[in-house]
């Protein structure tokens, strides 16, 4: 479980996060949704320490991340797997080397064991026969999957995903969502997924925070989200005319 308490973050005089608090629960995907530019990526990066928060507490199973010294932070980071918005695969390395990379640095596994682990992670995300290719040689959807494989190779306790399905067709998106969902339940980890895709929300949204202009202005699950009377959230959920008409008809 990760608890975020009163997070504030500004760039210059522009406040991006305003008193954000949320409990990210263990064993299920926690979604953060919101329009582009509301501060979702900033929230994620602040929670893992890539950006410095102005104030607030981030508790990883009760341990306050921001109060830790450099060494303790490093230990926590080994429990974190992260999927970046752009994939962030190392493009000078092959797919296999990408997945093996954290294992080589932080475990004493033999080359054979590392390869096995990498293969099992790649198989888990349904990728085969790509081990020797470079990131530039595979498709966007495959890159996301490699990034997931890399993120889970160290058996993380916490998995952060920044828009795992942006730029993918609806079918592949759902596959990625399901993958993240299944992994979360399978490994019993705390997963945080950023998305602005309503399909994902309805598919895996067991616990959702809606971020609006840096503030959390709603939380709930996928059943509740369709019937909320929060105006901003309604605008977000029923973004198209088609959906608005559809909703009116249902009423």
């Amino acid at each position: 479980m990760i608890e975020a308490i009163n997070l504030n973050k500004s760039f210059g005089n522009k406040q991006v996060l305003k008193n954000f608090s949320f409990k990210f629960e263990k064993g299920k995907p926690n979604l953060i949704i919101g329009e582009s530019g509301t501060g979702k990526s900033v929230l994620l990066k602040s929670m893992v320490g890539l950006l410095e928060l102005d104030s607030g507490e981030v508790l990883y199973s009760g341990r306050d991340f921001l109060k830790m010294n450099f060494k303790e932070k490093k230990l926590i980071r080994k429990e974190i797997g992260m999927l970046f918005q752009g994939g962030a695969l190392f493009d000078s390395m092959t797919i296999e080397e990408n997945v093996v990379f954290p294992l080589s640095l932080f475990t004493d596994k033999s080359a054979e064991e590392k390869r096995e682990r990498a293969n099992s992670c790649l198989q888990r995300v349904n990728l085969e026969n790509v081990n020797k290719l470079y990131p530039s040689e595979i498709s966007g959807g495959m890159k996301k999957r490699v990034a997931i494989a890399r993120a889970i190779s160290m058996e993380p306790e916490y998995l952060f995903c920044d828009e795992p399905n942006s730029g993918l067709d609806p079918k592949t998106s759902i596959l990625i969502d399901e993958l993240i969902n299944d992994l979360t339940y399978e490994l019993n980890i705390t997963t945080i997924v950023i998305t602005h895709d309503m399909n994902s929300v309805l598919e895996i949204g067991d616990h959702i925070a809606f971020l609006y202009k840096g503030e959390k202005c709603w939380e709930g699950n996928k059943q509740e989200i369709l019937h909320t009377d929060n105006k901003e959230l309604n605008d977000f959920v029923y973004a198209t005319k088609f959906l608005r008409n559809f909703k009116d008809k249902l009423k």
Partner: protein, 246 residues
């Protein structure tokens, strides 16, 4: 005042670069990769520049020395001294600052803007040490060899073109090259070169590592890397010459 900000941040980065590595075997492999890409990869350009540089210096020296009072072997001697003292160590390093510096800043800058560096940090890797330390050490190790090769090729270039253009005879040139040879000068050149290698790699890495934005800024970082490493290099050239030769 911005300059103090950069100098401060540069030294903070260096302190991270030289902190204890996670696993030394990985760093050893990275070191040899970099020796290969920074060093062996620069061999071609070093060879071409050196041969032409040597030829031009020889022809110019011969042109300047067309006087009955100066013995003809002086051409060889002048060529040797210019090459050993300044042309090979400083000019070749400057050109490599362009080649190596822009490639380092481009590579690290791209990794920064595509979040590859963040990805490393999240894994708990000291990205500064992992990316930069092998480059610095590899270039400090390999550049002296490149420069020795450069000196050698420059003198060959001088000999061949000097003889072909009729500026000197082989005998005079070879005699001049060996006349009053001081090994200390080569030592001085190599000391300079090790310092230059450190400057080129660390300054370029600095500019790459702190790139912000996108592809446009990566280009800017590369340019800055070349400009600043060249300026710092020339400044240290002056300083070391004063310290070691005066």
């Amino acid at each position: 005042m911005k300059i103090f900000y950069h100098i401060g941040r540069y030294f903070i980065l260096l302190s991270r670069v030289f902190s204890k590595p996670e696993k030394s075997i990985i760093y050893r492999n990275r070191f040899f990769e970099e020796v290969n890409s920074l060093g062996i990869g620069s061999l071609g350009i070093v060879a071409i520049i050196s041969v032409f540089m040597g030829a031009v210096i020889t022809i110019q020296a011969a042109f300047g020395f067309e006087s009955p009072w100066i013995p003809l072997y002086a051409v060889g001697l002048a060529t040797r001294d210019s090459i050993v003292l300044e042309f090979s160590p400083a000019i070749v390093s400057l050109i490599l600052a362009g080649k190596v510096g822009s490639s380092i800043a481009g590579e690290i800058g791209t990794m920064r803007v595509t979040e590859q560096i963040d990805a490393m940090e999240i894994m708990g890797v000291n990205s500064a040490a992992y990316l930069i330390l092998p480059k610095i050490l590899a270039f400090m190790f390999i550049l002296p060899f490149l420069i020795i090769i450069s000196m050698f090729l420059a003198m060959i270039g001088g000999l061949v073109f000097g003889v072909l253009t009729g500026a000197v005879t082989p005998h005079q040139f070879l005699y001049g090259i060996q006349y009053d040879f001081r090994p200390y000068n080569v030592f001085y050149a190599l000391v300079k070169v090790v310092v230059f290698a450190f400057i080129i790699t660390s300054v370029s890495s600095y500019h790459g590592y702190y790139t912000k934005g996108g592809a446009l800024e990566v280009g800017r970082s590369s340019t800055k890397a070349v400009v600043y490493s060249s300026i710092v290099l020339l400044f240290f050239d002056l300083l070391l010459t004063q310290l070691l030769l005066a």
